[in-house]
């Protein structure tokens, strides 16, 4: 079965551990699992600004790792708390394309600090502003802070790959779920932290993270106290986002948000939603139905679409281009571990291919050997014997038939001639009569010798009567089928005239 890419996004800030397991299936993302483990105490609504993660996070992580160890082979992206971090946008004047990158690099360094040693700086992709000036967003976190967070995660044995600033992960989620929807304020209000993300619709992103949240509201009893707490928090948040907007954008026209998207745990409190809408005077929405996500039944009870930062973290790992904002590189060991299934598959495919080659070659060898055996094998002796026997028998039978036919022809051919000749003696053949005849077989004609003598007193009985000999010749030809080939006249012992005829009787001309 083809493995689909999946990743974990873990947000440890805001007073709770929020972990989302997301799988990419084609163009859609499927939220497989969602875990939320509270870290803050009851009624706690603010976060301590320390470099280290809270100790409660360690316990929650230990529990999480224990229960989800099997799935943690997928990339794990952790949110970096951004208190004390800096961010902004650097732009340079329109210049040659080759020099823009170096100038931007310089501008970013100049904007972060004069001494870059304590800072870890990350740049976003270069893109031009509306005026055409190339620029890029940048983020800088204190190196010591990052090391503290990484040290905490390692101490708590959480295998992780990337460490991404939380608001930037939130921005990735919002751009995916609500792309190009005008000027918006994304407000992710967790129990002890609130991230304000300003999206101007032209790619500009500004954010501010506040160490206050809705923890007190969540633990407040339902009733007037809760409503009062909601109004108080709403007023505080309104003041903060106005201050943040003024600080980030100044008093420019055209940057005021048109709509507020409320995320985080605060989205679950209708009192706060109403109070915020009333306080800000803006349209306020919360995600109810997924747009580009599929939520499994296992993850649905945790309302995972409210956890924008965790979703953005997982999306950062699933992005093929990688995440430029990560402050750490994926550990080589984890990359190798993730490559193990693919490598195992490749090795298995190699083994299967080699074994298949061996099998096919062996089968081909046997096939060719059998084929060659048939080609070089002498013809079956029985077949040869049958063939020769049939030929010899046919020849013998034909010879016997021919001999029989010849014998039949020979036996039946001559006796009618003899009968006719003998019968001719009884006939009157004036002016000659047949004295004798003799037949001898020959090929292709039998030879017949005939002797005639003139009938006494008949006309033309003298020697030299050629016309009478001609009459005899015609008579022999017409009656018996004899072709006279020689005529000889002589005198007999008594002085009478004798005519000797030699005639040929072709075999085919013998008349019955």
């Amino acid at each position: 079965m083809l493995m689909r890419p999946a990743a974990w996004g873990i947000d440890l800030t805001g007073g709770a551990l929020r972990a989302l397991h997301i799988e990419r299936a084609g163009r859609r993302n499927r939220i497989l699992d969602a875990i939320e483990i509270p870290l803050s105490g009851p009624g706690e609504g603010a976060e301590a600004l320390t470099a280290h993660l809270p100790e409660a996070a360690g316990r929650a992580l230990a529990e999480f790792v224990r229960t989800h160890a099997a799935a943690l082979g997928d990339p794990v992206v952790v949110a970096l708390p951004v208190f004390g971090a800096r961010h902004g946008r650097a732009e340079v004047a329109v210049t040659a394309a080759g020099q823009a990158e170096k100038l931007l690099e310089f501008e970013v360094q100049r904007a972060v600090a004069s001494d870059l040693e304590p800072w870890l700086v990350r740049r976003g992709p270069t893109r031009s502003s509306a005026s055409g000036a190339p620029g890029c967003d940048w983020f800088a976190a204190r190196r010591e802070h990052v090391q503290c967070v990484v040290g905490d995660l390692q101490r708590w044995r959480l295998p992780f790959d990337l460490l991404v600033p939380g608001p930037l992960a939130l921005a990735r989620y919002c751009e995916l779920e609500w792309p190009g929807r005008g000027r918006r304020l994304m407000m992710e209000c967790q129990r002890t932290r609130t991230d304000l993300l300003f999206l101007l619709g032209d790619g500009t992103q500004r954010w501010r993270s506040l160490p206050l949240g809705c923890g007190a509201l969540a633990d407040a009893p339902v009733g007037p106290t809760r409503d009062a707490e909601a109004r108080r928090l709403a007023e505080r948040l309104r003041a903060e986002w106005r201050e943040a907007h003024l600080a980030l954008f100044g008093a420019h026209d055209g940057t005021a948000p048109e709509r507020t998207v409320l995320l985080g745990e605060a989205a679950r409190h209708p009192e706060l939603r109403h109070a915020l809408a009333a306080a800000t005077g803006l349209e306020l929405v919360t995600p109810h139905a997924p747009r580009t996500f599929v939520v499994t039944a296992r993850a649905a009870p945790q309302q995972p679409l409210h956890h924008g930062t965790a979703i953005g973290l997982a999306l950062a790992a699933l992005d093929r281009a990688g995440d430029p904002w990560s402050l750490v590189d994926p550990p080589r060991g984890r990359r190798l571990t993730r490559a193990v299934p693919a490598l195992s598959g490749a090795l298995l495919a190699l083994a299967a291919g080699l074994l298949a080659t061996d099998f096919i070659a062996a089968r081909e060898l046997h096939r060719l050997a059998a084929l060659r055996e048939r080609v070089v094998a002498p013809v079956d002796p029985r077949v040869q014997a049958d063939w020769a026997s049939a030929g010899a028998t046919i020849t013998a039978a034909n010879q016997r038939s021919e001999a029989l036919l010849a014998a039949i022809d020979d036996a039946g051919r001559r006796w009618p001639l003899a009968r006719h000749l003998i019968a001719a003696l009884a006939e009157t053949t004036p002016p000659f009569r047949l004295l004798s005849c003799a037949a001898e077989p020959g090929t292709p004609a039998d030879l017949v010798r005939l002797t005639f003598e003139p009938v006494a007193g008949a006309v033309g009985s003298d020697v030299g009567a050629v016309g009478d000999v001609d009459a005899i010749t015609r008579w022999l030809h017409d009656r018996v089928g004899l072709n006279v080939t020689g005529v000889e006249e002589r005198r007999g012992p008594d002085g009478t005239r004798r005519v000797d005829l030699v005639a040929a009787l072709p075999h085919a001309a013998a008349k019955p």
Partner: protein, 264 residues
Amino acid sequence: MRRLGFALSLLAAAAATTIFFTETRATLRSVHALRQALARDLDLALATAERHGAAPSSDELALASSRRRAALEQSDTLAVGFWQGAHEPSDYLLTRAARGGERRDDRRALLDDALLALQVDVKEVPGLSPTRLGLVAPSLSRAAPLDEEALAEQFTRVVAVRLLALTLRRRAPLDLQSATLTFEQRDRLVARVTVVGSIDQLVGVIEELAAPSADAPPRSLRNFTLRRQEPEEWRLTGPQFTSPPACLDATLCFLFPGGTEASR
């Protein structure tokens, strides 16, 4: 689990690679060599077929078998018709329906019966002597000591003499001047007959002697000579003829079955 799978995959790949280099490569080389050898053998077989013809196919064998059967049937049909269903000389002493069966055990008795019956016919033809024609004298008390070859020869002579005797008796009066029987081959008995008679009688003699008949084998008239008998040559003591006689000298060849030619 992943590492175990990887280890197993590595093991499988190593084993498959080992098999490939130890066996598959040799097999592939063998396949290559065998293909070349097969191509050579095919070329050789094609050349051989072009020179000497290809081996017969099953269809050709079936056709040859069919033709052999047809040729034998034709030959047998011709033989049966030619020899009137006889397979050996003694068959002519039997009726047509009784010929061609199993070899009879009472052939000696058949010969004795034929010889005895022939005595009556021969006596009616002056000049025809069974002894001079090579026949043994029949005896009612004991059979003549004859081996198989002599027995077959006697049957041959009996059939020929019987034909001569019956023919001459039916066409009487005739003056038989000579009659001889000589074997040209084992299956060919040549009869030379010189007989004087009227023209009508001689025509009948020729017809009966040479024409096909059921109780004698086919005959071939080798040659004949016919000449008129002059008045002074007529024998005063011989038979009286109604018209001036002629002398017929004929040579006749009896073709008996069982010989090498025209027999199976």
